[in-house]
């Protein structure tokens, strides 16, 4: 059984959503350079498309910006028509950055100390890691 610790992406990165028409972008920025490759490995186009399945994006494109330790996701047709057409209270999709930041990310032992935020990894998995 894997003893990998899983944490929400929010502990590795921060993010902001922008919108243009029916297209949404989510800029994801690593909190630490060493966390960036973990995000690149696990926040794939396929993983993000699956996480956003109920928004039914026609396409998810991912752009890597290693000098900024950032990833830009572009989700086509994910806004139910966009700011003027959607019936969503949040017709801009402003809140979607936090949907992405709730994606679970597996982190190796060495990365735990680099995580942001004050909610710890699940106690059981911490115990697993400290007492293999």
């Amino acid at each position: 059984m894997s003893d990998a610790v899983k944490v929400p992406a929010r502990r590795l990165a921060h993010a902001r959503t922008g919108d243009k028409g029916n297209r949404c972008n989510i800029g994801v920025i690593a909190w630490h350079p060493a966390l960036y490759p973990i995000l690149v490995e696990q926040l794939t186009e396929e993983a993000v498309a699956a996480w956003f399945a109920t928004r039914a994006p026609a396409k998810v494109a991912r752009y890597l910006l290693p000098r900024l330790e950032a990833i830009n996701f572009v989700l086509d047709e994910a806004l139910d028509g966009g700011v003027n057409e959607s019936l969503n209270l949040d017709s801009h999709g402003k809140a979607l950055s936090f949907l992405l930041l709730s994606m679970p990310i597996e982190i190796p032992d060495w990365a735990v100390d680099l995580l942001a935020g004050d909610d710890p990894p699940r106690p059981s998995t911490i115990a697993d890691r400290r007492h293999p």
Binding site: R10, H14, A15, R16, G18, D19, K20, G21, R23, N25, G27, I29, A53, T54, R55, A56, A61, Y63, L65, R67, L68, A70, N72, V74, D80, G81, G82, V83, N84, E85, S86, L87, N88, L89, D90, A95, L96, L99, A116, G117, D118, D119
Partner: protein, 451 residues
């Protein structure tokens, strides 16, 4: 002291932004004692269509409604210290906005400033209909078109500044133009100096949402803490002769400028980072770097530019029917089940109307219009739930039924429902298209006080 930089302070990031934001920015610009200008971005896509509707009602309206409140506190200081003002607060009626500014100056006892207006963005007139129909693939009946505007570039704004304008009033200029145009006028770059144009464009991009680069829209307690967010300072870019910039903010204010706030805003509304399309240049941020160079000071370097696109983006707005919304709250034990039952009642009472259902407190903004997310979520035991239902239709009468049925839930719906609110509003239909640059003639001119 570095004398060859231009300071660009931003005092608004959207229509409805704080009207007390400008004063600390202007105080800081004056204290720096360097060439400076103050910019206001007040024009989201939708804002312009709404402004056009106001102008149809009143030929003297159609510019930024907060114009006087935004400029009033700083106009005298800006004019007195040579700080030029550039804004897209002209919206659908730049000439009326210019006259308002001249009247404001008069009321403040100032001698009349040189106020210029920029024209050419408005494609709402009949002569543009065939072009828009051909380019957007959609024919809008004459009676339904509200507005059409092209995103125009920095040339006419920079020309107005070089022509001596103290205030430049524009409508639909591309947002980054607010910084690019003053930089063009100040440094005299060629219009095909793609790298410099791209760098200053990205400075404008960082400024265009006001406090969003200086700690606004950033705070996430425990993760991203921002000092004195209630008194957030608006940003100031120091643009150098190469177009590179350092982002700072007004002195003595809250908020923060860090590599993280700058990176978030750098990527905001960007699609392909190698090709950020603007009327003036295609900017490429794939090799961009941000560095903390002081307290609340972050530099942006490494932006590259490519030749500007052959066509300009235009947004076309037309009548989009009506939207209605109804809400009712349920609380205590069984609240979620009662809210779901109320939603089911509405669906059965309103056949033929596609309802968007939100259970606020359970699942709302992360849901979808088709209800896929809510359908996949088993009924839970939430104890404070606000049902919100929305629908759109071409005809007002069709969505009005939703208002009546929501209200009827008081006596005919599940137990304990309270706090009904209903609203109805016009909807705008929007589409974008590309129009050839040659079809859009831009110009500028000074406006006389007695026009």
């Amino acid at each position: 002291m570095d004398t060859d930089t231009l300071l660009v302070g931003c005092a608004a990031g959207f229509s409805g932004d704080r009207t007390d934001a400008a004063a600390p920015v202007v105080r800081t610009l004056i204290a720096r004692g360097r060439p400076a200008c103050l910019v206001f971005e007040t024009l989201a896509e939708r804002t312009l269509a709404l402004a056009q509707l106001r102008r149809l009602d009143d030929p003297q309206a159609g510019y930024e409604p907060q114009l006087e409140a935004m400029l009033g506190p700083v106009l005298a200081d800006c004019l007195g210290h040579g700080i030029r003002i550039v804004g897209n607060f002209g919206a659908a009626n730049p000439v009326a906005a210019a006259r308002k500014i001249l009247a404001l100056a008069g009321a403040l006892g100032l001698s009349p400033p040189r106020v210029a207006v920029v024209a050419g963005d408005d494609l709402s007139g009949p002569s543009f209909r065939p072009l828009l129909a051909a380019r957007s693939g959609e024919v809008t009946p004459e009676s339904e078109l509200i507005s059409a505007h092209a995103y125009i570039g920095a040339e006419p704004v920079a020309a107005a500044l070089r022509g001596g304008a103290q205030v430049v009033v524009a409508g639909r200029i591309a947002d980054p133009v607010l910084a690019l145009a003053p930089a063009l006028a100040h440094f005299g770059w060629a219009l095909d100096d793609w790298n410099r144009l791209a760098r200053a464009t990205m400075a404008g991009h960082l400024l265009e949402c006001g406090a969003q680069v200086s700690g606004g829209y950033f705070a996430d307690p425990g993760y991203k803490d921002v000092p004195d967010l209630h008194a957030i300072g608006f940003p100031i870019a120091e643009i150098d002769a190469e177009g590179n910039c350092v982002i700072g903010k007004a002195d003595g204010t809250g908020g923060c400028v860090t590599t993280h706030t700058v990176k978030e805003q750098l990527l905001y509304e960007i699609h392909d980072p190698a090709a950020y399309l603007t009327p003036d240049v295609v900017a490429d941020i794939t090799a961009a770097e941000v560095r903390q160079v002081g307290e609340n000071r972050v530099s942006l370097t490494g932006v590259a530019g490519h030749p500007r696109p052959a066509a300009l983006k235009a947004s076309v707005f037309s009548e989009g029917g009506w939207v209605a919304e109804g809400e009712i709250s349920y609380a205590g034990p069984g609240a979620e089940r009662r809210a779901r039952l109320a939603a089911e009642i509405l669906a059965r009472r309103l056949p033929g109307l596609a309802l968007r259902v939100d259970l606020i407190g359970v699942l709302s903004v992360l849901g979808d219009d088709a209800g896929r997310a809510l359908a996949g979520r088993p009924a839970g035991a939430a104890q404070d739930v606000r049902l919100r239902v929305a629908a759109a239709a071409r005809d007002r009468g069709d969505v009005e039924r939703l208002l009546r049925e929501t209200t009827a839930l008081y006596t005919c719906g599940p137990a304990g429902g309270g706090g009904v609110r209903t609203s109805m509003r016009r909807r705008l239909h929007t589409r974008s298209c590309m129009v050839p640059r040659e079809a859009v003639r831009t110009s500028w001119r000074m406006v006389a006080a007695d026009e």
